[in-house]
């Protein structure tokens, strides 16, 4: 019962994904708007779910792996909805929504119980600030990777002169590159603030700003990777295919930092510490 909104949201996202799939396979014009409204309905249910979790846990609901993934997917869908008003081409949704659906399904396998009251360190306004910034960065990078994938497909089709259905469905190279051009500074900005806010939070609690915990280390590596991308793009004019490839590689790194480090390496970002209360670095 406690995850009812979340489950409704998953159902809507899956329905939307299927409708987008139908659109891709049959290019049936009516399924794209249906898909969008399903996604929008899912987004509403999803928002309620997050609100519900906030009331349930009595605080900003970002303290469990479940909540983190849920929030991540929520930001992805939110960005998609904003973007859709600028570019109504359904192709972006055909990738963003299934991505959100997969994230949500994955999230539903993760622990969501908050058995004990949150440890005091997490009952801080730094939690929503830090986690939201970090997740917003991740979401932007995710959509950049999606745009990059689409760019690579579209560019291949044009180079090889195969201008079939897929080519017509995909947006222009210029639009796809603009996802990268606009997303890169935005995502980098969020990532930077996410890291800074984390450091400030740590500093305010423990007195050390930086402890080389695995998550911190990998976040820094990610930061350097995206800093390099920003540089290549701004100073050397890297764009198009190269930028698209980098966006995809960068996102692999982001995903490793987000999931891999937490699950494999421990440290004070591992969620189990949230309930165990062993948050001393």
């Amino acid at each position: 019962m406690e995850l009812v909104f979340y489950k409704i949201a998953i159902l809507f996202y899956i329905a939307a994904s299927l409708a987008y799939l139908l659109f891709l396979l049959l290019s049936s014009g009516s399924s794209a708007p249906i898909a969008f409204w399903c996604a929008a309905a899912g987004f509403v249910a999803h928002s309620l779910s997050i609100l519900h979790r906030a009331i349930f846990s009595g605080f900003f609901p970002l303290a469990t792996p479940f909540d983190a993934v849920s929030c991540f997917a929520w930001i992805v869908v939110g960005i998609f909805i904003v973007v859709r008003y600028r570019d109504p081409s359904p192709i972006f949704g055909s990738i963003a929504i299934p991505l959100a659906a997969v994230l949500m399904l994955f999230g539903s396998t993760l622990a969501y119980q908050v058995d004990q009251p949150l440890v005091p360190i997490l009952r801080s306004w730094w939690l929503p600030i830090h986690v939201t910034l970090a997740l917003a960065g991740n979401a932007v990078f995710a959509l950049m990777a999606v745009g990059g994938l689409m760019y690579i497909f579209q560019e291949r089709l044009i180079k090889r002169k195969r201008l079939g259905r897929l080519h017509k469905l995909l947006p222009s190279l210029e639009i796809l590159d603009s996802i990268n051009r606009r997303g890169l500074p935005l995502g980098f900005f969020f990532l930077t603030l996410g890291i800074i806010s984390g450091a400030l939070w740590a500093g305010s609690v423990w007195g050390y700003y930086w402890t080389w915990d695995p998550k911190e280390t990998w976040s820094l590596i990610t930061w350097f990777a995206y800093a390099a991308m920003v540089h290549q793009r701004a100073a050397l004019g890297w764009r198009g295919k190269k930028a698209a490839l980098l966006a995809i590689l960068g996102f692999v790194l982001v995903m490793f930092t987000f999931f891999g480090v937490s699950l494999l390496m421990g440290g004070h970002h591992a969620f189990k510490s949230v309930v165990a209360g062993t948050t001393v670095p």
């Binding site: 290019s27 014009g29 579209q154 044009i158 180079k159 002169k161 201008l163 079939g164 080519h167 017509k168 222009s172 190279l173 210029e174 639009i175 603009s178 004019g237 890297w238 764009r239 198009g240 295919k241 190269k242």
Partner: protein, 438 residues
């Protein structure tokens, strides 16, 4: 009633161009010629459809066989041609065939270039002229509105008009797919030639900056630039032109490629790797094949573009098949309606007519009823309404009875004639359609 729909005409498939350009119904700007057809004794409603590939008279007639002869005679007379030789180019369709034909024409399935978008507007123009000249009536109103509806369905539900089928349009579309919004892009035309000019003209409609034109002889560049409202560029400043332009159309008579991979690499650096679309129309080629391998450079030659156009044409034909089945569906719906399988419109029309009579009479007696109190007035309303309901009750339940189809047709037909319902019944049904939306 659908038996009474008649189409007499010719199109690109039945008549050569020298005939088509003679049969144009001149002087029909305000429907005078349409009136001539309407005035044929056997014809109740008529309209003319005239395009550069098509000339047709669409009519509603109670004796289509006789009417078709009269129509042919009139077409011959109007255009001052002999009737018998003309007959060889004409098709005559009646009934279901005629309905299907009108729907196919409006949906651009009968066009020379299947899916071309102008035809619907031309059908609408013809219909509007006829309607303004009072030459149309319930049957053609209904027929044409259903035709517009069908055309809309075909356009929305199939890709019949979606893909570009001319080389120049393919080039413009592709430019959009590579460069996005074309408004702020610049175009460079190297050399001259009919096809190059055509492509440049199409692009010129999309971009705001004047097209740059360069040529081996500067005078030629100047004259072509004047024609395209562009700007001439001397050939020795080609490199700068390439660094600036987003779309390059080349069509020179040079034996050696003038755009080599080495040259493009230098230019790309100067462009800061902004993508560029090269359209090579020259034979032999102006652009080295290896240029297409450079990142951000897209080279299409005339054969590539032609292949895309052909492929799109094939796709249109495929989509046209889906369009045909929509047409058949709509033809059936239309025939059901006309053959009166549906008694509802007639009943609605009958009720409307009675109510109209009642309220009309009430209005007339308004003066005499002026002394009544509001209560008394209301009573009169109720009484008169009661009377017409009683009168209408038996005929309506008679019409509602499900008998055999032919019997019901007869009943509906008699009822429509007896109460003069034609116009009403048909108009009542038109409200549901969205039409004349352009």
């Amino acid at each position: 009633m659908s038996d009474g729909i008649l189409v007499v005409g010719l199109n690109h498939a039945t008549a050569p161009v020298n005939i088509r350009e003679r049969i144009t119904f001149p002087g029909d700007e305000s429907g005078q010629v349409t009136r001539l057809f309407r005035e044929i004794a056997q014809i109740q409603e008529a309209m003319i459809l005239s395009t550069c590939n098509r000339a047709e008279v669409i009519a509603a007639s109670d004796r289509p066989a006789d009417a078709s002869e009269e129509v042919i005679e009139s077409i011959a007379r109007i255009h001052g041609v002999e009737r018998e030789p003309l007959r060889a180019y004409l098709y005559v369709k009646t009934g279901k065939e005629a309905v299907q034909h009108v729907f196919r024409v409006a949906s651009s399935l009968d066009s020379m270039v299947v899916g071309e978008p102008q035809i619907l507007g031309q059908v609408k123009d013809g219909y509007r002229r006829a309607a303004d000249a009072n030459a149309t009536g319930p049957i053609l109103n209904r027929l044409l509105h259903r035709a517009f509806f069908t055309a809309k369905r075909v356009r929305n539900e199939t890709g019949v008009g979606a893909a570009a089928v001319s080389v120049a349009y393919v080039a413009v579309e592709l430019a959009g797919k590579i460069l996005g919004e074309l408004r702020d892009k610049s175009v460079l035309l190297i050399g001259a030639g009919e096809m190059a000019e055509l492509a440049a003209r199409h692009l010129a409609g999309k971009v705001e900056k004047p097209i740059q034109v360069t040529n081996r002889t500067f005078e030629n560049a100047c004259s072509l630039a004047r024609k395209l409202e562009g700007r001439p560029v001397p050939m020795d400043r080609l490199e700068e032109g390439l660094a600036d332009a987003d779309v390059v159309i080349t069509s020179t008579g040079s034996c050696e490629p003038i755009i080599t991979a080495a040259r493009v690499r230098t230019v790309m650096k100067r462009r800061r790797y902004r993508p560029v679309f090269l359209i090579d129309i020259a034979i032999p080629r102006d652009v080295e094949p290896q240029v297409n391998d450079i990142d951000g450079v897209y080279v299409y030659n005339i054969d590539d573009l032609q292949a895309v156009a052909d492929e799109n044409m094939g796709e249109r034909r495929h989509e046209a098949l889906r369009g045909e089945s929509i047409v058949l569906e709509e033809v059936d719906k239309f025939l059901n309606w006309t053959t009166g399988l549906d008694s509802a419109p007639t009943i609605v029309a009958l009720r409307d007519k009675f109510e109209k009579i009642r309220s009309g009479e009430m209005e007339k007696s308004n003066g005499k009823l002026a002394s009544l109190t509001p209560d008394q007035r209301r009573t009169v309303e109720i009484v008169t309404r009661g009377i017409i309901n009683k009168i209408a009750h038996d005929p309506i339940s008679f019409l509602k009875k499900t008998g055999t189809e032919s019997k019901r047709n007869l009943h509906l037909d008699v009822a429509q004639k007896m109460f003069k319902l034609d116009g009403l019944a048909l108009d009542a049904n038109l409200e549901e359609d969205e039409f004349l939306d352009t």
